[in-house]
Subunit: 467 residues, 2 copies
């Protein structure tokens, strides 16, 4: 491929360029376009003169930005052939992507090629096709015409019944089916909650630092200010929380993997009791996967009046299902359902009915057990590879989930990750998930790749760190 | 069932009660709760003293409101047993519904019993189960792990390709697949557009009068003021439009069934060219169904830069699919995709892949042809019944769609519809879809019921009007 790109692909808004540091700004814009696939490998960047004129900036700014990207091996100068993109993004955009691209707990898109170690990606090759198709057929055979109509915006009663039983069994929740709202995933849960909280006057939300960048972006989209709160080896520093609303990952903190300690749980409960309109958004994003420890009950089980609980099938089946569940506290329930109704009238009945069948037949639990065993093997392979290729690293959060956090003594994690990307390896630098600067590290997802690919990627990481 | 209801079910916000007319306000709140199923038949209303105290109002207000509902036969006084709901709503709420309940083009929920003639309900009993399951299996067999991951928020490229071809063939649209955004239905298209338009400073939107109440409610949810514009026998009065944005149903105006005349199309094009940032939201909600006339090309075909085109599979397959498509104008495209991403990251890949298969195999078109023939027979049965049982009525909009509009010389359409509801017959009074008062009428959907039930319902309507 050797195609000449206009400048539209950048969706550049010159008015958003800072008065100073335009070079860094422009380099970042183009880098993002390359990383998310808007600028595929082989495409030609606009001539520096053209882009400079379009931006109303000095040509030197553009030349310097191109040079930085050349230094990062993202692009290469080809004499009179211009500047050509060299990096092959795995991301799937045929064309226009959204303006804000969020690598994170809520990844934008999974790479098609290369080795993607983004956290939060399950093993999609292991999707239970036969069980799903069986459930789908049974669901459609049993569906009444009414079931296929405009349904209850809070979800199909049958699915909510199954889910209430499953959440009780697996997560210790005591909820009535009518308290559950079926949504399109944790992302929609956050969107609905933020919309509703804004109408209730909430203007800032506490988030874990480090914490999911995807969740941060999702919250900020709704015009809510993020207030970072430190995470230590017991979980979030409850004593440093200053907002009435916090978004937490208590069962398996993202990205550190820390389990909220019993002391912190108590402190959190005291905080909630003492704080007016306290709301803890519990993002229970991968609680189904525990390997070496007993289950941690959900926060919701002990303080339902203060917790909005969010889970999904994205990590157990596949993100492409787009099905999740939200249990808002009673005081917000009607508004959350109204927001869901206003957003899309309700989630797909066909998907809901199929999920209800999967729960009812036990196939869902069987699948999770199967995946858990496979993922444990992948995790073990990853840990062996880290020990071998990155011997000085510290590994965190190994006992649960789909990823580990690896911290290293020194180095620029973003630069290392950028270098690896040129080799087709996608690893999230810890910096992406920090609100404030801190020691370097890497968030490594292990669920979506077999042991040999995990080892190859970690070997490349070790080599990059040794340079 | 004889259950004592608290007052929570009403989700009453006393601060939203008007200073005057509290009786009418309260009666309307309770009526809505009964109609949408929050207050099932057999439930007991709160004692008047209790409700009055809770609302901080005189007891007489509550007594009078209960009396009005008694007059409408929605509730009945049972001596010391209190006031009991008599009307059995078909709507499916097990419990808490949203605050705003919208009977309309975007119905909230379909009744499970009785005869529901709500417009916009397709014949769900005719859902093409075998073709769907076949397509679903093929789609899953062909899906790569990547297809099941976090996909492109604007939709799966394969579905967008099929859709672009289909829209060209069926609706005369010339769009590139990359211009299409896959959404959860027309409701989500409206939600995304209103969110984006608000950030662009839009504060008011023109709507057809009469026009879809569901669409009006959907727009108003996002804090946008509705400006009604009259509809006559040529369609919307373009000369009376005062806003930069209008939401229209040009191919088959809802609820009148009028087709926008060629003169008005030209006037609309002139208006769009002369108006800064003009945007026509084209709700092409049932264009697949035409019986006695040639297809009307979509507005989008002639003025793509001024039109946001919205369609869905809700009327062709079933609303429970939750799949639609939006083609925003280029200037809004990136923001719409960002809003879609922030709302739910993208629509269900599994549903999208299945739809792509249905388009590709031709099964979708075959199904529409089949349904069209069946619906034409139902329409003809409805027209015969109207001629027989409501001889003085005028019937509008018979040549396309899923409903007709019946207007009558005199009477209170809301009262008549309320009376029919007590007989288990759901018909939308035209008043529901008016922004401003006007002559009475009924919007009668005919797709979801066989001829004998249509005739029975119309006979009841005739009898009610004769009283």
């Amino acid at each position: 491929m050797d195609q000449d790109m206009g400048t539209d692909f950048l969706q550049l808004d010159p008015s958003s360029a800072p008065p100073k540091g335009r070079t860094a700004w422009l380099a970042a814009q183009i880098r993002a376009a390359i990383m998310d696939g808007r600028l595929p490998a082989g495409s030609r960047l606009p001539p520096t003169r053209v882009l400079a004129a379009e931006l109303g900036t000095a040509r030197g700014v553009v030349v310097e930005a191109y040079q930085r990207l050349t230094d990062e091996s993202l692009v290469g100068a080809h004499g009179s052939g211009g500047t050509i993109v060299q990096y092959r993004s795995g991301l799937a955009y045929a064309s226009r992507p959204p303006r804000s691209v969020t690598p994170a707990l809520l990844p934008m898109a999974a790479p098609e090629h290369g080795i993607d170690l983004s956290p939060g990606l399950p093993d999609m090759s292991n999707f239970p096709r036969q069980a799903w198709i069986r459930a789908h057929r049974r669901a459609l055979d049993a569906a009444t015409p009414h079931d296929l109509g405009y349904g209850d915006p809070s979800g199909h009663p049958g699915l909510r019944r199954e889910l209430a039983a499953w959440l009780a069994r697996q997560r210790g929740l005591r909820v009535h089916p009518d308290e559950i709202v079926i949504v399109a995933g944790v992302a929609q849960s956050l969107a609905l909650l933020m919309q509703v909280l804004r109408t209730h006057g909430v203007r800032e939300v506490g988030v874990e630092d480090p914490g999911s960048r995807g969740a941060r972006d999702a919250i900020a989209h709704w015009g809510i200010r993020l207030v970072p709160v430190r995470v230590d080896d017991q979980g979030i520093r409850v004593d440093e929380m200053t907002t009435n609303t916090v978004v937490l990952t208590p069962a398996h903190q993202f990205p550190t993997g820390v389990v909220l300690s019993p002391q912190r749980r108590r402190a959190l409960a005291d905080w909630a009791d003492a704080t007016g309109d306290a709301l803890i958004v519990e993002d229970d994003y991968d609680a189904e996967y525990r390997y070496d420890r007993t289950p941690v009950p959900a926060l919701h089980a002990s303080a339902p009046e203060h917790v909005a609980y969010a889970g999904s099938a994205s990590k157990t089946l596949a993100p492409g299902i787009r099905l999740g569940w939200l249990i808002p506290p009673k005081r917000l329930a009607a508004d959350v359902i109204a927001a869901k109704h206003a957003s899309d009238l309700g989630s797909s009945a066909i998907v809901q009915l199929t999920m209800a069948e999967l729960f009812a037949s036990g196939d869902y639990d069987r699948h999770i057990r199967l995946v858990r065993a496979r993922q444990r093997r992948r995790r073990d392979a990853l840990l062996r590879a880290i020990e071998r290729y990155v011997p000085g690293a510290t590994v965190h959060g190994v006992s649960a989930g789909l990823h580990v956090l690896v911290t290293v003594d020194r180095g620029d994690d973003e630069a290392v990750a950028a270098g690896l990307r040129t080799q087709g390896i996608g690893i999230h630098p810890l910096s992406w998930h920090r609100s404030r600067p801190g020691p370097p590290g890497f968030v490594i997802g292990y669920a979506a790749n077999p042991p040999d690919r995990l080892a190859a990627a970690v070997a490349a990481l070790g080599a990059a760190l040794a340079n």
